[in-house]
Amino acid sequence: MAEVTYLEALRQGLREEMRRDERVFILGEDVGRYGGAFKVTEGFFEEFGEARVIDTPISEAAIVGAAAGAAHLGMRPVAEMQFIDFISCAYDMLTNYVATARYRANLACPLVVRGPCGGYVRGGPFHSQNPEAAFLHTPGLKIVCPATARDAKGLIKAAIRDDDPVLYFEHKYLYRRIKEQLPEDGDLVTPIGRARLALEGTDLSIITYSAMVWKALEAAQVLEKEDGLHAEVLDLRTLLPMDDAAILETVKKTNRVMIVHEDTRTGGVAGEIAARINESAFEWLDAPVLRVTAADTPLPYAPTLEDFVLPQTADIVSVARKLAAY
């Protein structure tokens, strides 16, 4: 066992897949000699060479489109967005071309698009985004959002092996802040579509993913200490396809559910989860499903503003109290 950061775990996963399968290659801006803006692919250029770690021009549509073409012929491309905010430049390629390839043309499209998402880093409106909701609405894509170092590694490996296109959203706030003991050998793969119980509880359920898992766990500690409440925390890990069974199980167990995400509120992932719960477990609920999310604004730069707009541990605590008292 060795202690590795979320970032290093992701790097290990990528490296292991590149060693395991020569069809895997990386393309993106500054991923080669420079090793990527956040150094995720540091050392790859030296180990795998220029042909498998490709520096591209600043052309996200071409990066994703080229990945799709390569994937059709049996390659396993991993495309990096320097910041996930720039995935919007490849939105057409992803939603129109990539997502429909199998359905409309029986074309295999086993590619991964990954990149740093998320706020709490004073990055302003264009270096902090969480674009999952924009893609959740697109049949044909898969979306994973690791919260732990283990899943950062396990999900990148699963994403690369998956036969469908996978969007892998890694949270830049977690890169160097989250550490975990991971086995040095063995094949650590996190199955796509499977949630993880991050904390067992009985009084209420917090359904969440990505960096918010850590805020939910913090809130659970406060609730336990100050209110004697035992919150359960479900880390979804995969958003598409969603682990409905795990969601139902926690609903049936605690009968009180809240959903927490960092993305904005209207049209966010929480709405979809709430609808599913409403449709299949209404009679199990003792309270309305509540949400903790960012406010419906672009994400501002100033610390005072960013902290106000983004969900904080205190928000989770106060909504949980409301939920428990309902």
Binding site: E29, D30, R33, Y34, A37, D55, P57, I58, S59, E60, A61, Q82, F83, D85, F86, S88, C89, R122, G123, G124, P125, F126, H127, R265, T266, L290, R291, V292, T293, A295, D296, T297, P298, P300, Y301, A302, P303, T304, L305, E306, D307, F308, V309, P311, D315, S318, V319, K322
Partner: protein, 354 residues
């Protein structure tokens, strides 16, 4: 401090190029010095942790931003849109150093009220539109600005900056093509500074010169030494005049060099040392100072006075900006729409905090 040759004495004033007068030469000098010194102040504040986000430098590229923006006619209502390294162009258009400091420090008093960072701000009155991070996006926007000039029959000109890297985006291509096809009064300044982040020009584009792309769009192409402020002014001025006369788009490649890393955090280890040294010797401010004094267009005293003016203005600006507060948290919710829409489901703060 720049090393300057001894005062040239009573040398005769040789013919000043590009139709400029002595006062304008001093203004060009002032703006280049202001740009460099403001960034040096920002670098200090950055090291003290007072700049909230990243810091992007234009060291060695001041002539490119200042000389090109100077070619616009502010009184005619010309407009430009900068990129991250075009601080100098904003200062020429009348942006206040104190506002730039406020932006970097995310102050409530900043032009974007703490919402956006660094030089991502605009001022329609002063004639500039703030960029967003997504590279290339300002090209279509400036096409729309200049389309409006054209539709309204106004003799105004637009100028937009694009980096050697940003030229690879789809948005750049589409905006460029639209502007070309409509013969819009737009000057496109392509800054070839050798790098986009760590990526060298050869890995960014297969053409050896950015100006070659002009032909593909059917627009006029020009290329100039971006570290020679008078050459920059001259080439841009001619493009601006043509645009104003209805002759459409010019793509100008300015050859310059990014002397710092992509941002302050980047140690630019991928840059060959001799390359850096070579460009240090080609510093645009040093060159202009030599030109001014050797030709007798300005004397050392005038340049020192300009330096003193810059230092004094920046002292005051830094002092003013530092003491100002960050924005009120709840102000984050204002101004997403003209009229706030009614929300079906209120936000958690409204539910739990009354």
């Amino acid at each position: 401090m720049t090393a300057r040759p001894a005062a040239a004495g009573r040398k005769a004033v040789a013919g000043i190029p590009a139709g400029l007068g002595r006062a304008q030469l001093l203004e060009l000098y002032y703006f280049m010095r202001l740009t460099r010194s403001l960034e040096e102040r920002l670098a200090n504040l950055y090291r003290q942790g007072k700049v909230i986000g990243g810091l992007f430098r234009s060291l060695g590229q001041e002539a490119d931003s200042v000389g090109s923006a100077f070619a616009l006619d502010r009184s005619a209502g010309d407009m430009l849109s900068p990129l991250i390294r075009n601080l100098g162009s904003l200062l020429v258009m009348g942006a206040l150093p104190v506002d730039v400091l406020r932006q970097y420090m995310a102050k409530a008093t900043s032009p974007t009220r703490g919402r956006e960072l660094n030089v991502h701000f605009g001022d329609l009155e002063r004639g500039f539109i703030g960029q967003i991070s997504h590279l290339g996006d300002m090209l279509p926007v400036m096409a729309g600005i200049t389309l409006t000039f054209q539709l309204r029959g106004e003799r105004r000109v637009g100028l937009v900056y694009v980096g050697d890297g940003a030229m690879s985006t789809g948005a750049f291509h589409e905006g460029m093509n639209l502007a070309a096809v409509r013969r819009l009064p737009l000057v496109v300044v392509a800054e070839n500074n050798g790098y986009s982040y760590s990526t060298t020009l050869e890995r960014q584009t297969a053409v050896p010169q950015l100006v070659l792309k002009a032909r593909a769009y059917g627009v006029r192409g020009e290329r100039a030494d971006g570290n020679d402020v008078l050459a920059v002014y001259d080439v841009t001025r001619r493009a601006v005049d043509r645009a104003r006369a209805g002759e459409g788009v010019t793509l100008i490649e300015l050859v310059t060099y990014r002397r710092k890393g992509h941002a302050e955090h980047d140690d630019q280890h991928y840059v060959p040392k001799d390359e850096l040294a070579r460009w240090e010797r080609n510093d645009p401010i040093d060159r202009f100072v030599r030109q001014l004094t050797d030709s007798g267009w300005a004397d050392a005293g005038e340049l020192e006075a300009a330096d003193a003016r810059v230092a004094g203005e920046l002292d005051a600006a830094v002092q003013a900006a530092q003491g100002e507060p960050l924005p009120e948290p709840a102000s984050a919710l204002e101004g997403v729409y003209v009229e706030p829409p009614r929300q079906a489901a209120p936000w958690q703060r409204e539910v739990t905090r009354g």
